[in-house]
């Protein structure tokens, strides 16, 4: 559906209805993981499978970032040997994964969520505590709203 052409459109014209928060799943310990339980408020806004897929992919990114294995030992020992000064010039593995995550969320927003009037917020902006989903006004199928919103946008500029 072409209710919202892009993120900018939605941000200028739509009004926020509510925010839904997907909480952390601590069943596997303190690793960063979000619940795949589908929030009831989004029942008629997005298909379950899509949201589940997004959360599962995010979880897999975090698993990759927090993996304790050969490479992290090497990174740790090397950094320790240089009194961690190497971290001032080098990007850590976690930071690299965070960049990937922000790119992924941007892409998901543009392809899947914005057309449905939703917006994902990167968990890092909420202290890795929640995955915040902003729910914008559902414009419905009336054709008049996008054009009126576009014209109000242009006069405002």
């Amino acid at each position: 559906s072409s209710k919202f052409h892009n993120l900018q459109d939605m941000q200028h014209t739509a009004s926020l209805v509510t925010k839904v928060f997907i909480q952390r799943d601590y069943s596997e310990g303190t690793v960063c993981r979000f619940q795949t339980k589908f929030p009831a408020e989004l029942d008629n806004r997005i298909e379950r499978a899509l949201l589940e897929q997004t959360v599962k992919t995010l979880n897999s990114y975090y698993v990759e970032a927090e993996k304790v294995g050969g490479q992290s030992y090497l990174e740790g020992c090397l950094a320790c040997a240089t009194a961690y000064i190497v971290f001032l010039c080098m990007e850590t593995r976690y930071e690299k994964v965070l960049k990937k995550i922000s790119g992924y969320i941007q892409e998901q927003n543009e392809k899947i969520y914005a057309p449905r009037g939703l917006l994902l917020t990167d968990p890092i902006e909420r202290g890795m505590r929640v995955l915040e989903i902003s729910v914008f006004e559902d414009r419905g199928s009336s054709g008049s709203s996008p054009s009126s919103s576009m014209s109000s946008c242009s006069t405002a500029r």
Binding site: R24, S27, V68, G76, R129
Partner: protein
């Protein structure tokens, strides 16, 4: 209509809740009381300077020049670890924004059901099962969040800290998830440094005594020497025992994957012994996880960056990066103009990327671009 852009540096961390102080564009984060930290720094630098000035010339000549060189390297490592521990964000959990706090409140009320008036509502606790162990997550009334497992609220810094170990006044900061390994390495290398200095002090006195006799050694050195010597040995002695003890204690905690906080509260001892759900039941694995684990990002730094960017707009309240119904109307077009000035392809917003440059610099360059 164009919004007036402020190009002065706005120090957004002054608006962050909690009792932390920040420096260097938000990169340095410490507790408010720093007096004891300066004392620590003074003691270490002072004692080591005395060692380098009075002992090292003799030792370098009579024994080996490698001795002062190694001492210098060890000293630099200790200082680096101390500064890392003191200046890092320990893993502060940011407070819940109003919408999130309300969401959690509604969930709590839904879970509690109807409480008859006059009765106290049940305590806000969530139960979570980790590794076949029920862990209670407590609600923090200050931060308005359910604390993750192992997090605790530090009353001195007024923040919830993830994997909270303890608040260390010597270091002037909390010790938590992000800086625990630096703290441990600090205690370990300081113990080694103290033992090293103490040992070579003794060696120096012994060697001089062998050459000139013990009483002569005390007499022939410059008038202030015995005074330095005694202060030296005294400081070294006390430091040594306390540091070695502390290092030993933390080595024990690491091998069991426990925090000082859990140890004090007796969470996994007594009748709960052997039930720590976070432990891998293997000393090596526990040590590896704590010391060689991933380097977690500082979420405080990320939130600083975002609020700094939006602080460049002349608002009393921070305008969010994405305008919502709270953004005043005169700001929306400027944000729109800002966003549309870039190419319309998949360029992620600058605020999303972890900044290596200072937050204010990025904000100022984007303002300059806009003008």
């Amino acid at each position: 209509m164009s919004a007036v852009m402020i190009t002065r540096k706005v120090r957004k961390w002054e608006k962050l809740p909690g009792k932390n102080t920040f420096c260097c564009d938000g990169r340095v984060m410490m507790a408010r009381q720093k007096g004891i930290f300066y004392l620590t720094l003074f003691l270490i630098i002072g004692t080591c300077s005395l060692f380098f000035v009075f002992e090292c010339p003799y030792l370098a000549v009579h024994l080996s020049p490698a001795i002062p060189v190694f001492a210098v390297l060890l000293f630099l490592f200790v200082i680096a670890m101390l500064l890392r521990t003191s200046f890092s964000d320990p893993g502060v959990l940011p407070r819940a924004l109003p919408e999130e706090a309300n969401f959690i409140e509604m969930e709590i009320e839904a879970a509690n059901g109807n409480v008859p008036s006059g009765q106290r509502p049940p305590p806000r606790i969530r139960n979570v099962q980790i590794n076949n162990q029920i862990v209670k997550l407590k609600y923090c009334y200050t931060c308005k969040i359910f604390r993750p497992p192992r997090a605790s609220h530090c009353s001195i810094c007024d923040n919830c800290v993830d994997r909270f170990d303890h608040h260390c006044p010597w270091v002037g900061n909390c010790v938590g998830k992000r800086n625990y390994r630096y703290f441990y390495l600090f205690t370990l290398t300081l113990s080694l440094l103290t033992i090293y200095i103490f040992a070579f002090n003794i060696v120096h006195v012994v060697m001089r005594s062998v050459d000139h006799g013990f009483l002569n050694t005390l007499k022939e050195t410059p008038g202030t020497y015995p005074l330095n010597m005694n202060t030296f040995l005294l400081v070294c002695f006390f430091t040594l025992w306390s540091m070695v003890g502390l290092t030993g204690f933390h080595t024990y905690l690491i091998s069991l994957n426990q925090t000082t906080n859990e140890d004090i509260k007796g969470s996994w001892s007594g009748k709960n012994r052997g039930q720590n759900p976070y432990s891998h039941k293997n000393i090596i694995k526990n040590c590896c996880e704590v010391l060689c684990g991933p380097t977690y990002p500082s979420v405080t730094f990320f939130s600083l960056f975002l609020t700094s960017f939006s602080a460049s707009f002349p608002q009393k309240t921070t305008a969010p990066l994405i305008p919502n119904e709270h953004t005043p109307d005169d700001v929306k077009p400027s944000i729109a103009a800002e966003k549309s000035s870039g190419p319309k392809d998949d360029q992620p917003p600058a605020a999303m990327l972890p900044p290596l440059a200072s937050p204010e610099t990025d904000a100022e360059t984007s303002i300059a671009k806009n003008q």
